[in-house]
Amino acid sequence: METQTILTDLTNILNDLTADWDTSYEEGIGPATRLIGDLNFESIDVVQLITAVEEHFRRRDLPFEQLLMKEGQYVDEVSVGEMVDFLAKHLN
C-alpha cells in the first residue's frame, strides 16, 4: 500500500474522529499534525484511533507499542507522519 494512500486514509479517519471536537486547530490535518499538541488527544482517544485504524485496514496485529512506546515508556507525542510511516512499514 502506498504511503500517500495511507496518509489519505489516516487523514480521513482523523477528520471523522475529530469532527465533533472543538480542537481549535485550523490547519488541515497533515503529516506534521500532532495528535496531542494539535488535536487535543487524550490517552483514551489514542485507543479509539487505534481501533478505527484496525477496523479500516482490517488488521488487529499491528504492533502499536512500537509507535507509542520508547524504552518501556509511553511517548509524549505522536505525529500523523510518524503514524503513516509506522503503518507503511507494517501494512506492507
Binding site: 465533533d20 471536537w21 487524550e42 482517544d45 487505534i50 477496523e55 507499542e65 512506546m69 518501556g72 515508556q73
Partner: protein
C-alpha cells in the same frame, strides 16, 4: 444447517442496574421509597445471583450478554495488557475481544430486533438488526459507534440530548474510584440523576419509534453512587446524629433511587402487559475498610519489580509501571482484583515456565490464604483471612490469569502511588500505608469506612424476572 427464523418472539425488556444490591434496595423498598420496584417484586420472582468470579463490570455484563464465564468469553477486566519486548502495552477491551456470541446477535440471527443501550464493550458495535448505543465510551467517540449510523442524529434531535452527559468521562471515573471531596459530592450525585434521565428518554424514544423484540438498557448510576456514597445508603453506617452534609447527601441519594424507580416503572408500563421483564445487576456492593496493595505483596515475594526511570519513581496512573524483565506476577490496575501470572512458553521468555505454572499458581493461592491482616495476627482469627478462588482462562495476550476473590471489606488495590514507595516509617502504625514493608492500608481518607467496591461478595447480584404466566407465584 441454517438456523430457522423464529416467527414470533415475546417482547422482552431487560433493565440492568450496575452494582445493585438488595442490601440497599430492600430497606428503601420497605420504607416505601421504591413503589414500582416493590410492585414488580410483589408479582414477580426475585433471587440473588452469583456474579463472575471477579465481580467487575466488564466481565460480569459480558457474562450476562453471552451466558458464558470469563474463561470462555475472554473479558476479565476493563483493560487488557500485552507484554511486548518494548514493554507492557495496555489498552481497553472492546466488543471485538468478546469470544462468544452475545444475546444481541443471537436474537438478530433469529430474525428479531434488539435495542442495546449503555452496555459496556459494545463498541465498535456489531452489525445487528436494531439499535446500539454503547456505554463505557467517551462522548468524543459516541457518534461513530452508534448503530445504525443515522441513529445518532435522530437522538441528537431529542430535547435536551447531551452526548457529554450520557457518555463516560474517564476523569470522572478516576475520581469516583478515589475519595470525592465533600463539596463535590452533591454535584456528583445530581449529575447521575440527570444522566439516568437521558438514558431513560433515549430508551422511551426507541421503544416508541424503533420497537424491538429485546429492549435492554443499563443504568450505571447505581454503581457510581455507591462507590462514593455508600455511607449515606447503608443503614449500618448512617450517623445517629447526621451532619447537614450527611442529611443532604442521604436525601440526594434517595432522590436518585426514587427517580430511577420511576423510570423503571414507566419503562415496564411502556413495554406492555404481555412483555417479559428482567432486572439484573452485574455484581454486588459493600463497604471497604481495608485495602491490600497486592503488588506490594507480590514484590515482597520477589515476583514483581517496579520500573524506575533515571532512578525516579513512576508516577501514579491508571495501570502499573513495572520492570517487565523481572516481573512474573502482577495486578495491572486497581480494578483487577486479582493477579496475572506470566507464563514463559519459550526458553528466554520472562515468566513462570509452563511446566511449573500449576504449581506456582497453587502455591500463590496458598500464600494468599495464609495472608493475615497484622491486626488480627495476635487474635488468631481466621474469619478475616483472604480466600482465593481460581478463574482460569486465557486472555487475548495468552497470559493465564489467576483471579483471587477476597472476602468482603478487603479491596485488592493495585494502583501505584508514589507514597507506596516511601521509605519505611520509623515507627507508629505499621498499616499507615506508608511503610514499604506493609501492603495493608486503611482507606486513603483515613476513615474506617469509605464507599468503595465490594470486591468479594459474589452473591449480591439481583435478578427479578416475571412474565404474565408467573404472576402470583
Amino acid at each position: 444447517m441454517p438456523q430457522p427464523k423464529v416467527t414470533s418472539m415475546q417482547r422482552t425488556l431487560l433493565i440492568g442496574l450496575d452494582g445493585a444490591t438488595f442490601k440497599v434496595l430492600d430497606p428503601l423498598i420497605s420504607q416505601g421509597q421504591l413503589p414500582h420496584l416493590a410492585e414488580l417484586l410483589s408479582r414477580g420472582v426475585r433471587a440473588e445471583l452469583l456474579s463472575t468470579p471477579h465481580p467487575l463490570t466488564p466481565p460480569a455484563w459480558t457474562t450476562l450478554m453471552t451466558g458464558r464465564l470469563p474463561g470462555n468469553h475472554g473479558i476479565f477486566d476493563f483493560l487488557r495488557s500485552e507484554i511486548r519486548p518494548g514493554g507492557a502495552f495496555f489498552t481497553l477491551n472492546d466488543f471485538r475481544d468478546i469470544r462468544c456470541e452475545t444475546i444481541w446477535s443471537i436474537v438478530s440471527r433469529a430474525g428479531g430486533q434488539i435495542t442495546s443501550l449503555n452496555f459496556p464493550l459494545m463498541a465498535p458495535p456489531p452489525k445487528i438488526n436494531g439499535s446500539i448505543v454503547p456505554g463505557l465510551l467517551s462522548w468524543r467517540h459516541l457518534r461513530r459507534n452508534v448503530h445504525p449510523p443515522e441513529l445518532y442524529d435522530e437522538l441528537k434531535s431529542l430535547p435536551g440530548f447531551s452526548a457529554n452527559e450520557i457518555s463516560w468521562d474517564f476523569e470522572h471515573e478516576k475520581k469516583a474510584m478515589q475519595i470525592i471531596a465533600d463539596d463535590e459530592l452533591e454535584s456528583w450525585v445530581r449529575f447521575h440523576v440527570v444522566r439516568e434521565k437521558h438514558w431513560f428518554d433515549i430508551t422511551k424514544h426507541l421503544m416508541r419509534n424503533r420497537p424491538a423484540d429485546l429492549t435492554a438498557v443499563m443504568f450505571d448510576g447505581v454503581d457510581k453512587l455507591q462507590h462514593s456514597c455508600w455511607r449515606f445508603l447503608d443503614e449500618a453506617y448512617l450517623s445517629e446524629n447526621p451532619s447537614p452534609l450527611e442529611q443532604t447527601m442521604r436525601e440526594l441519594c434517595l432522590t436518585y433511587f426514587r427517580e430511577l424507580d420511576g423510570f423503571i416503572g414507566d419503562l415496564v408500563t411502556l413495554a406492555g402487559d404481555d412483555a417479559r421483564v428482567f432486572i439484573a445487576s452485574d455484581h454486588g456492593f459493600g463497604p471497604t475498610e481495608t485495602v491490600l496493595r497486592i503488588n506490594k505483596w507480590l514484590e515482597s515475594l520477589g515476583h514483581l519489580k517496579w520500573q524506575t526511570v533515571d532512578d525516579q519513581k513512576p508516577k501514579a496512573g491508571h495501570f502499573v509501571a513495572l520492570d517487565w524483565e523481572r516481573t512474573i506476577a502482577y495486578a495491572p490496575s486497581g480494578a483487577t482484583n486479582g493477579i496475572h501470572i506470566r507464563v514463559a512458553r519459550q526458553p528466554g521468555e520472562v515468566g513462570v515456565p509452563i511446566e511449573e505454572y500449576s504449581q506456582f499458581r497453587d502455591r500463590l493461592g496458598e500464600q494468599l490464604r495464609e495472608l493475615k491482616h497484622p491486626d488480627r495476627r495476635a487474635a488468631g482469627k481466621r474469619s478475616d483471612d483472604l480466600r482465593a478462588s481460581l478463574s482460569r482462562g486465557r486472555t487475548r495476550s495468552g497470559t493465564r490469569s489467576y483471579v483471587g476473590a477476597v472476602r468482603p471489606r478487603v479491596l485488592l488495590g493495585a494502583r501505584l502511588r508514589t507514597d507506596d514507595l516511601a521509605a519505611p516509617s520509623s515507627g507508629g502504625d505499621p498499616c499507615s500505608g506508608r511503610n514499604l514493608c506493609c501492603p495493608w492500608t486503611r482507606n486513603s481518607s483515613g476513615q474506617d469506612v469509605a464507599a468503595t467496591i465490594d470486591s468479594g461478595c459474589c452473591r449480591h447480584a439481583v435478578i427479578q424476572s416475571w412474565s404474565p404466566d408467573s404472576r402470583g407465584l
